[in-house]
């Protein structure tokens, strides 16, 4: 442990050259961790024909350095060339920490990379801190380790996990969980172009067809969310939720039960298997408030819960509770709001 510790790395996810929000959130967090450790924050940015402005964006959010790896074989994304490039980079530069977004890509790439490097990996972290760890079983103390905090057992417990083997310490973090810092357009960093060594062994898979649509809604950036749950009752009655959202200038969210019932699209799902949101105002309508749902919305500024069951768990995390029927309360809210503005 006498060696100088490595830097904090952030894997930058892009689609069509545009950086995904989660990666910028991780750059923000990575910057913070790097400052605590007294090391640099560095981005690893892979793709083909990546834009200069994207690289600048990484500096603006706090990266000291960007490792840029460009190759035709990195587009579209397939796992083996990406894993190979990252493993090669890690072996040479020995980072202390690597952060991946807990997205589809990050959650298949992280384990592949960690397995090859024989590193520990913790999925879906919701908080990251630097602290010492005393392993009482093996009577060893580790200085300045990454505390990897995540929900487990379906969100019923929160576990703090530490990687005790050699660095890097690798984690994935869910989108929307870490706070995005403000961009400082004056900031600059160092660009390191890396020549990838992708061989025929990594190009065995090919993408025949790729169909992708932009999301109907991006709840992560929403300031006001009106969310409906199973208590709404039917697809027709879900219109009430949409009406309130429209009246307040907000977006429509939903619990898993409402999505599973087919009343609203999965893009609208808030919670552990949906998106994590932190709007100014969250109105939970007919949502009982399972631990999995609450995991995705408790950081909202103000929470209003409307439910006809006074014992619904959602009330325990709400700032305002209305025990009543949605078809009665929601129109009253719309009328009241329209009258005030």
């Amino acid at each position: 442990m006498a060696d100088k510790i490595g830097n904090v790395w952030i894997f930058i996810e892009q689609e069509g050259g545009n950086i995904e929000n989660v990666s910028l959130e991780l750059v923000s967090k990575g910057r913070e961790l790097a400052d605590t450790l007294g090391v640099d924050a560095e981005a690893i940015f892979l793709g083909d024909n990546l834009k200069e402005e994207s690289v600048s964006k990484l500096y603006h959010h706090g990266c000291d350095k960007v490792f840029l790896v460009e190759d035709k074989k990195l587009e579209p994304f397939t796992i083996l060339p990406y894993a190979k490039c990252i493993v090669d980079l890690v072996k040479v530069n020995k980072p202390n920490i690597i952060l991946f977004g807990a997205t589809n890509k990050g959650r298949e790439l992280g384990p592949r990379v960690a397995s090859e490097l024989l590193c520990g990996l913790t999925a879906d972290c919701t908080e990251l801190e630097i602290d010492d760890f005393e392993d009482r079983v093996n009577k060893k103390t580790y200085k300045n380790k990454l505390m990897q905090i995540r929900p487990a057992f379906g969100g019923n417990i929160i576990a703090t996990i530490v990687n005790t083997w050699e660095d890097p310490q690798i984690v994935t973090v869910r989108p929307g969980v870490m706070k995005l810092n403000d961009a400082d357009t004056g900031k600059k960093g160092a660009l390191v172009k890396v020549e990838p060594k992708i061989t025929s062994k990594e190009t065995v898979m090919s993408v025949i067809e790729r169909v992708r649509k932009e999301k109907d809604v991006d709840l992560q950036g929403a300031q006001i969310i009106v969310a409906g749950g199973y208590g709404v009752g039917s697809k027709e009655k879900f219109q009430l939720i949409k009406d309130l959202a429209e009246a307040l200038g907000g977006d429509v969210g939903a619990s898993r039960a409402a999505v599973d019932a087919g009343w609203v699209d999965h893009d609208h799902q808030v919670g552990q298997t949906g998106v994590t949101v932190r709007p100014k105002l969250y109105i939970a309508c007919g949502i009982s408030g399972s631990i999995q749902h609450r995991a995705g919305m408790t950081d909202s500024g103000k929470i209003i819960a409307i439910n006809n069951d006074p014992d619904a768990p959602i009330f325990s995390c709400a700032h305002y509770g209305i025990v009543g029927e949605l078809h009665d309360v929601i129109p009253k809210m719309i009328t009241a709001f329209k009258a005030k503005v």
């Binding site: 990996l121 898979m205 305002y320 309360v329 503005v341």
Partner: protein, 298 residues
């Protein structure tokens, strides 16, 4: 042309339907509150395996790592359509994180022998990590297709599969052998009555020994004869230890796990300043007024 497909499954605590408190007062997980079930997405992997078995006349082998009674999910797999079952069980595997687990499973896959595909559920509901599938692929040096919804075609050379990506899907070609992680895109068939009749007596060596000791019946010769008879009938669930699969003792269990749990806390909901609002016009009006005043609305 015959195919062999391995499906790895896991028995998990039912974290979605917790009865009582998940944690005991001493801070440990209350397993009694968590009944053991077949991991849901592993049922989707098994269903895909059974479909492929039917389409390509494949042999379907199901494997799991767990305590001796994890044989329950193996019997369930046989009831649904698997041909053979393997239980990887050893105290030495206890305390494994995903890296040590994937290493142990890679030893198990190599022991099973030649295969064309390995299927795993995307993730298990106890940890929700989705790590073991990709790590197992890496350990075996296999290409992986994650988040598979369906298989379009399987040949001796390649597999073409549809997989979920963020906001859509991809069709990919991948050489075999390969590993696929499967998402909940199919409806797992229930157990088949004929299979239940056939496999309800399927057992592991431990179970056979236990049946004898329960009956206070210790005849070593009879054990050998019964074991041979079960094998003959295809009712033998192969039980493998760390040594049987040639696992390096340094790479399994707690020892082989780089991650350690520092602490576990029950989820405590911090109660916000709570205000009860009457569901009346007056109540709702005052709420809206308050939210506009503090700039939350408007």
């Amino acid at each position: 042309m015959s195919y062999t497909i391995i499906v790895f499954v896991k028995q998990v605590p039912d974290t979605q339907n917790i009865t009582g408190d998940a944690m005991k007062p001493d801070g440990t997980v209350n397993r009694a509150a968590l009944p053991a079930i077949f991991n849901p997405e592993d049922l989707n992997a098994l269903e895909l395996g059974i479909q492929l078995k039917e389409r390509y006349n494949a042999k379907l082998v199901v494997g799991t790592m767990g305590p001796p009674n994890a044989s329950e999910v193996l019997r369930e797999s046989l009831y649904r359509g698997a041909d053979e079952a393997v239980l990887l069980t050893d105290r030495a595997f206890a305390g494994a994180d995903t890296l040590a687990t994937s290493y142990a499973l890679s030893c198990c896959a190599n022991k099973i022998g030649k295969f064309d595909l390995i299927l795993c559920g995307r993730q298990a509901i106890d940890g929700d990590t989705a790590q073991v599938g990709p790590q197992l692929a890496e350990k075996l040096g296999l290409p992986q297709i994650s988040y598979v919804e369906e298989v379009e075609e399987l040949t001796k050379k390649k597999v073409r599969a549809k997989r979920a990506i963020e906001g859509g899907y991809e069709i990919v070609d991948c050489p075999v052998p390969a590993l696929m992680t499967v998402v909940a895109a199919n409806v797992p068939r229930p157990a088949n009555a004929k299979n239940i009749m056939k496999f309800k007596k399927a057992m592991t060596r431990s179970e056979l020994h236990k049946a004898h000791s329960d009956a206070d019946y210790t005849d070593a010769e009879a054990l050998v004869v019964e074991e041979a008879a079960l094998k003959e009938k295809g009712l033998w669930i192969q039980e493998l230890t760390a040594e049987d699969v040639g696992a390096d003792i340094e790479r399994i269990g707690l020892k082989g796990s780089p991650t350690k749990v520092k602490k576990i806390q029950s989820v405590v909901l911090t109660g916000a300043d709570f205000k009860n609002i009457d569901p009346t016009e007056v109540g709702v009006n005052s709420l809206i007024h308050e939210l506009i005043e503090d700039h939350t609305l408007g």
